[in-house]
Symmetry: C2
Subunit: 492 residues, 2 copies
């Protein structure tokens, strides 16, 4: 049946929403939550139908569409046909019952998530089921394959390397230092990063302070082939796009299902055309892996999966019990990164050493350096200014946002926190630091955040500055101060 498309100017973020008049729905034998296929010329979209119970929203023959669907269709007339429940619903139920899925079943589920043929409720059943029942190693391999197959693929000339960090440590912005070092060496490194989900800043949020991070696959291919590297937001392109949907569903309950984490990381690297991969797994109090044992276990699982797909991989287990660098928050972290690249006297040493270590390991993995020589090769590139030059090329290629980091204006509502007594800094709690930074407005308020003056082990004098809070709006600074009254961020 033909419908006139009416744009409803409402957003959902993900599911396509279409609404039709009750009488049209009856004529087509459709109920709310039924699936339809909307077609117009070469464009088509699966969606789940809402039915308008009264005639006042939509006239007969009109199909109301929310903005996401409007963007996908961009037409004024379309044909609507009912479609039946996809097979994948059956497979999800099979997983709920505790059975193992086969390759075809996993592919169907992932394909239908990507095509928006299954609803949020149905995706949640899938996510919860594999969270509770787990995935076998074989299922994780099939999940990875399915994620790659249902997304875009990039490809580059030459040796392509990549890095990934499992996250959890505030301020850990090594990527933005490693990428220019690697690219300056002649290797390719097409880095796609995520925005923050629960942390104060993702690499994409931090890079966005300096440059545009929303680039299409074609733009990425051109930039990387020309200058060797990029640092873009992965969510803007469709590498393993099913993963974004699974993460969106995991978010409300802060779930992290290991099998899906493994598949998602490896699938994105394969899709990005990488052949060499360095994985950073920080461990320690307040990071994602609490113990070295759990870090090692995760590392082995990564190595096993990556090797199945012929990805040469090295895992680094790093110290993750306190934040890295001085700044926490997009702008403050961007400044830290640029100071390291400029070999500035105030550059945070811990961030610099960690970035060089990881870059060095990647040089050794790709054969650019002999074993044991990677660190000094990376250091040499950094010291020579080649890394800074490369970073500026990347920023310019992506679209520069500030002339120099010293032009960045931090949140104008600030407060210094000073030591109440003399002592020695015993610990900085990652989770409290993250929470405080989020209260101050991170990551949406890019110029908000925390500047830490000390690292664990440092001596502290009474009255000395411990950290500075920055906020863009006064009430967030107030809330941050109130958080500090009830929570311990630093112990000394």
């Amino acid at each position: 049946m033909k419908f006139k498309i009416k744009r409803l100017k409402l957003y959902t973020g993900w599911p396509y929403v279409a609404v039709m008049n009750e009488l049209d729905a009856k004529l087509l034998g459709l109920h709310p939550m039924d699936r339809i296929l909307i077609k117009s010329g070469t464009k088509s979209a699966y969606t789940i139908l809402d039915v308008s119970q009264h005639g006042n929203t939509l006239k007969r023959g009109e199909l109301g569409v929310f903005e996401e669907l409007w963007d996908a269709l961009q037409c004024s007339l379309a044909n609507v046909e009912p479609i039946s429940k996809p097979k994948s619903i059956e497979y999800i139920k099979k997983k709920m019952e505790g059975f193992t899925l086969n390759e075809k079943e996993i592919f169907e589920i992932i394909k239908d998530i990507t095509l928006r043929r299954i609803s949020d409720i149905e995706i949640t059943y899938f996510v919860d089921s594999f969270y509770i029942n787990g995935f076998t190693k074989q299922e994780v391999i099939w999940l990875t394959k399915a994620m790659v197959k249902t997304g875009e693929k990039l490809s580059f000339k030459g040796k392509v390397a990549d890095k990934h960090c499992v996250g959890g440590v505030p301020g850990n912005r090594t990527t933005m230092i490693i990428v220019p070092i690697i690219a300056a060496s002649g290797l390719k490194i097409p880095k796609t990063s995520s925005r923050s989900i629960t942390s104060p800043a993702g690499t994409a949020d931090t890079m966005e302070v300096l440059a545009d991070v929303t680039k299409t696959s074609d733009e990425i291919t051109k930039i990387v082939n020309r200058i060797g590297g990029c640092i873009v937001w992965g969510g803007y392109i469709q590498l393993a796009p099913a993963d974004d949907q699974i993460i969106r569903i995991e978010h409300p309950l802060s779930i992290d299902a290991e099998g899906q984490l493994l598949a998602s990381v490896i699938a994105k690297k394969i899709s990005a055309g990488s052949k060499y991969l360095l994985i950073d797994i920080p461990f320690g109090i307040g990071s994602k892996c609490k113990t070295k044992y759990s870090a090692k276990r995760l590392g082995s699982a990564f190595l096993e999966l990556a090797s199945y797909f012929g990805l040469r991989t090295h895992v680094c287990f790093t110290y993750g019990s306190e934040p890295i660098g001085n700044g926490i928050g997009p702008a403050l972290e961007a400044i830290d990164v640029m100071k390291v690249l400029e070999n500035h006297k105030d550059a945070p040493l811990d961030l610099k050493v960690k970035a060089l270590t990881l870059a060095g390991k990647l040089f050794e993995l790709t054969g650019k350096s002999r074993k044991g020589k990677g660190y000094s090769f990376a250091k040499q590139i950094l010291k020579s200014g080649k890394a800074l030059k490369k970073m500026n090329e990347i920023i310019d290629a992506q679209g520069r946002k500030v002339k120099h980091w010293n032009k960045i204006k931090l949140g104008k509502y600030k407060r210094n926190i000073v030591a109440k007594r003399t002592g020695k800094l015993k610990g900085i709690d990652n989770q409290s630091v993250s929470k405080l930074a989020r209260i101050l407005g991170c990551p949406d308020d890019k110029y908000a955040g925390i500047f830490l003056y000390k690292h664990v082990g440092a001596k502290i004098k009474k009255g000395e500055k411990l950290f500075t809070l920055y906020a863009e709006v006064p009430h967030k600074l107030k809330e941050g101060l109130s958080f500090l009254r009830h929570n311990r961020v630093l112990s000394y």
Copy 2:
């Protein structure tokens, strides 16, 4: 912060949806999917926020609300405040991890479902977790208590009886015969029934052919106190309302979690003020309980839970391998019921005998009859015409829709299906009958359905009518005939 309420004239069916301008959201520190409390005078509602990404839908200071929320608030100005994640999210996660929940935790989850403080995705995690991990007996008791506590309660003078059928057998409309028989005896029977979810007709859909079934608690109380009984749609009042939401979430995957089923039935009966309960568990090929063993197990679980709450309960295990009565579909089933009540010569005998058996058991349970005498007491009430008189009183009290069942006009597109050869009817497949009736338009098309002329064991002559299909629209009849070409409904 104060907002002007803007009605968006869109429906979701359940979740409250509110939308605000991106800049207002930023000011309040809110993101999409965050929870807010909307207050206006004495009215308030929890909802999950959508954010409008462009300014063209909502101006600053406007809060767009969907119809469900509009109905709940009915105001032009309201105060909006952000609220934090409720504790229940933590408890849902605990259940996912395989732990047992305590009374307080279950109550918090059920309360937050009722208050719409948790999203569909979050409810799905809960449903899937108890589907996979199960509930302990103690958890089922707490779940029942929580469902009662979070809903409305009815109360009546005198002895209050009720009946419940676990369903699965098409045409099984004994309720509409039992209620007038019981009410005619002087007992009270406030029957709330469901609409069809996956079957061709629920009792509420069938009763709706004859009378209005949407009655408020006050109306139900008045009707039952005056004439002894009613047959209304349970979804219109708020008895154990959390259950409706759980069922809505279970629907897309056709899940039936036993613990939740038990809690939901018993909670609704307690809320309706019942003290005596008869449960009908049909078993056999094509019904919900495939074997007598599974029926017995379910029956014991019902008895145990009901006895905990002091509900005197009897379970009947009935034959469920073929449809009951002749008609399948709301109007056809209503006609069957009225024929039995009128002692009509064409009344389906199986339906009549089953209804009398169940009514008889209920008389024995309540002490109205001595053991073994219930059936004849019920038969006497039916034969005397008192049951028919009572049914007419109930129909009039709820709002009569047709003068007499013989005025009901069945779907005008019909087709007789005749026997291809002589033989003996070996089986009628419940699931195929249900599916066929749904294809013909049931339950939405009330006058569509199937009339079955024979029961299992009957002799069949070649060319004799086996059943008649009724549809309201021609293409549904066509689809029904196509279904018959590929599926076997009767075997002989």
